[in-house]
């Protein structure tokens, strides 16, 4: 049977669709809202803003997170900023330009209608956050300051020092706290969702584990919203927080929710290089540094001189050379691949030759050390703490690292998955960034989804589906609950010889080598052959100590790694099927003569939405064609 994915994009020109949608959408009357229960899994920017706004509207909300407080979600770590088409700088920005930049940045693999809507609501986000007390950077006149960010030629990024994510998340957390106080939201911290319950084809609840007592529980609702973030730690080392995982969306996948474009992963160009095998995570140095830092490597391979001793004419400022009009601000995917290329040529720097310089000496000469300190002081400090090196006196060493995942649950224009009643928002869905996300647009998307889009579109579902909640005695709840318990018991009973971390590292290395920055058929096939072997060994030889009825971090971790081990196969499978290069997905077989990504619009201008068919079967591909009505697809050029 051929299933046609209905993305429910409203008719009309791209600029009028969202207005038209809102004029025509169904509403739930205020007195009825409190009759609906909504589960929101996740309390990052997307989850916290959604839960708070739904609570304000009068719905009954239950919100879940695995950290000890909603304020600690991974969004807290975002440094650089958030985009909005305010045009406060009068530098030619507009909603259309933000829309166009995002579509182009995504290498023409995102849905036009969603992206335009995102650009439209971007301006409301800033207003909302200012009203909440987010202390954005300001100019002396008292107005909001802006900076430019990778992949854009205008200054449209709002920021709060190097802690924009923290301040935006605290704004959403405070709004959420107000609703918790008012009783519209019930918060479940240190609680992990382990499965989703589908009844008569609709999402009706979840199974959770209380991470303190170990108790597994069922929660029933009228709709379920997943805001569980991205899956970069499938590569083990990434810039993400240690707890980031794919469990929620992958469990939903196994219950029938399509997973879209899993192979679109973003490798961020400016991270601190790995220092040894003990490394547990990689630290991002905000992309904003590229505004004032110049990237270079020695011209000569194997040049081990101290960077300050290498004369100007023996340095290759390769981004400026290869992309004269964007220079050091070239988009992430392009900058990352360029770094890999020069290191592959033997010109990489640092202990293991996997690194390039990011040099501030020109900016310090031009603007003074004070100015640089004011702009990036905390980043320089963070760098020194980790490496023991002073970046005011010698260039930083940086290298690309897994950072963000554009793929995620397939959702329609209303942010609903193919399972009615299951909504997915924030980094967890696939929707707005195509094959590559531009800097400062994840925060924008998370808050757009949570504050302004989902709270509106979810009403349409309630207005047309009144099939109510089910008791947790329903056979589907009982079955899901038993499955979750059986899996926990299984993990605890293996008593093998290897630790969970060892498996995770092994997985990460395989994924980085074969499914990382540059992919090819042979490598992907190798990964696809190795993954089931690693998985089999995991289920036969992992050692998870302790019991399930208590606080047990090893058990939590084992469950997440078990899901990564299955999910990795889907990622590699998607990467193998997509025989083109686009954005963060670079297939070595498909490149232009000068090494740029070579898209194949004739065959691959679609969203790949995968349907689960069982453990031993290939997933089934459903294609959502991408139709460009407003923008003409071109080869991306940043030259």
């Amino acid at each position: 049977m051929k299933i046609v994915l209905d993305s429910k994009i409203p008719s009309g020109t791209v600029a009028t669709k969202w207005t038209k949608y809102r004029q025509e959408m169904k509403l739930v009357n205020p007195a009825n809202k409190r009759k609906f229960e909504i589960i929101v899994v996740g309390s990052g920017l997307a989850g916290a803003s959604a839960a708070a706004t739904l609570g304000e509207l009068g719905y009954n909300v239950k919100c879940f997170c695995f950290q000890d407080s909603p304020r600690r979600a991974h969004s807290i770590a975002a440094q650089g900023g958030i985009n909005a088409a305010k045009n406060y700088r009068n530098d030619g920005d507009s909603i259309y330009r933000l829309f166009y930049d995002t579509i182009k940045g995504g290498d023409f693999r995102a849905r036009e209608a969603n992206v335009h809507r995102l650009a439209e609501v971007s301006v409301n986000i800033i207003d909302q956050c200012v009203a909440q007390g987010v202390p954005f950077a300001r100019e002396y006149g008292g107005l909001l300051d802006n900076r430019s960010f990778g992949g854009a030629q205008v200054s449209r990024t709002f920021y709060a020092r190097g802690q924009t994510g923290q301040q935006l998340l605290l704004g959403a957390y405070q709004a959420l706290s107000r609703q918790i106080h008012d009783g519209t939201v019930k918060m479940f911290s240190r609680t992990e969702m382990l499965d989703i319950v589908i009844i008569d084809g609709h999402a009706k609840g979840i199974i959770t584990r209380d991470l303190v007592t170990g108790k597994t529980e069922t929660h029933s609702a009228d709709a379920v919203v997943l805001a569980t973030g991205g899956y970069s730690p499938v590569f083990f080392l990434s810039t993400n927080a240690k707890g980031c995982n794919v469990t929620a969306t992958f469990r939903a996948f196994k219950k029938g929710a399509y997973f879209a474009n899993p192979c679109y992963t973003q490798i961020h160009p400016t991270c601190i290089p790995q220092s040894g095998d003990h490394q547990s995570k990689l630290t991002l140095m905000s992309e904003s540094l590229r505004n004032d830092g110049r990237v270079w490597v020695p011209k000569k391979p194997g040049d081990t001189r101290h960077p300050n001793d290498i004369p100007e004419n023996e340095r290759d400022y390769y981004l400026e050379r290869m992309y004269p009009s964007y220079g050091n601000l070239a988009p992430r995917d392009i900058a990352s691949r360029a770094a890999k290329k020069v290191c592959d040529e033997g010109r990489g720097i640092g202990p293991n030759g996997r690194g390039v310089y990011l040099d501030f000496s020109d900016s310090i000469k031009r603007l003074g050390r004070d100015k640089i300190e004011e702009r990036y002081g905390n980043l320089f400090e963070m760098y020194e703490r980790i490496t023991g090196e002073n970046a005011y006196e010698q260039p930083m060493r940086i290298y690309p690292a897994p950072h963000y995942t554009m793929g995620g649950s397939w959702v329609d224009y209303e942010l609903m998955s193919n399972i009615p009643g299951l909504f997915v928002i924030g980094e967890a869905n696939f929707s707005d960034h195509g094959a590559n996300r531009l800097g400062a647009s994840a925060l924008m998307q998370g808050l757009a989804d949570g504050y302004f889009i989902l709270p509106q579109t979810i009403a349409g579902y309630f207005a047309t589906h009144r099939n109510g909640r089910y008791s947790s005695d329903h056979p589907e709840f009982r079955k899901a609950h038993e499955d979750v318990r059986a899996r926990i018991n299984k993990l605890l009973s293996i008593n093998g010889k290897r630790t969970v971390t060892e498996f995770h590292r092994e997985l990460g290395k395989l994924m980085w080598d074969d499914v990382g920055m540059a992919r090819n058929r042979a490598g992907l096939q190798h990964a696809l052959q190795r993954l089931p072997e690693i998985r089999e060994e995991f289920w036969g030889n992992v050692n998870v100590l302790g019991s399930g009825d208590e606080f047990n971090s090893a058990l939590e971790y084992a469950g997440r790694v078990a899901d990564f081990l299955e999910f990795a196969e889907l990622l590699a499978f998607d990467a193998l099927h997509r025989e083109e290069s686009c954005g963060g997905h670079f297939r070595e077989e498909y490149q232009t003569e000068d090494g740029e990504a070579l898209r194949n619009d004739g065959q691959f201008a679609y969203v790949a939405a995968w349907e689960y068919k069982g453990m031993d079967q290939f997933p089934v591909l459903h294609k959502e064609p991408l139709i460009y009505e407003e923008v003409k697809m071109t080869q991306r050029s940043y030259k």
Binding site: P135, Q167, I180, H278, M382, E502, F551
Partner: protein, 250 residues
Amino acid sequence: MNLTLRVWRQKNADTPGKFVEYRANNISPDMSFLEMLDVVNEELIKRGEEQIAFDHDCREGICGSCGLVINGRAHGPLAATTTCQLHMRTFKDGDTIAVEPWRARPFPVIKDLVVDRNAFDRIIQSGGYISVSTGGAPDGNAIPIPKDDADKAMDAAQCIGCGACVAACKNASAMLFVAAKVSHLSLLPQGKIEQDRRVLNMVTRMDEEGFGNCTNIGSCEAVCPKQITLDNIARMNRLYMEALFKGILS
């Protein structure tokens, strides 16, 4: 380097805990403190012993999850540094390091080095916000804010809610945490509108949670990884008194 660790092990809130000695061998100075604990944990699992439980997530000093008392000092020896940002190059080969959880009555131990800090969330719920709902906010530039005020608000807003201030205080006072939020919001025009109600509610809640009084010793400021200053406490005390008087007069 080779180290000796004395780590607080406690099965759960109801079981008494004790220090247990472990060896941490072949530790690289480039490791973070938590990576060093990862190494110890891997060895424990190999020996069939349960790993040491500790909270962590971002491992870059911003989420506020991690928090250990290291050699008697919250977050260890370095100023303005969270536990996850502390690197082993700060220690010497052969050192003995004591590792304990936050100790404060309002933060009961859950297991080993993990404590329950929900009291902080409940204080924020009592009023640590500006009461605006989504939608209808005026343009972001409608109210200019002097850069100096915005910067000061940001200084206070940087608090990561880790709880080191409470752990370091002999009275287990949460004044620095509460004052940081009260200051952040009161320094902005948007937050001034409900500042009386906010400060009264938050302080009441703080007392109800069992946090102690502030006796101006300043240990909190000394250990704060985000360098939140004592001026914030002075500002909060002033706002609190003003709010009380207004209440009495009206």
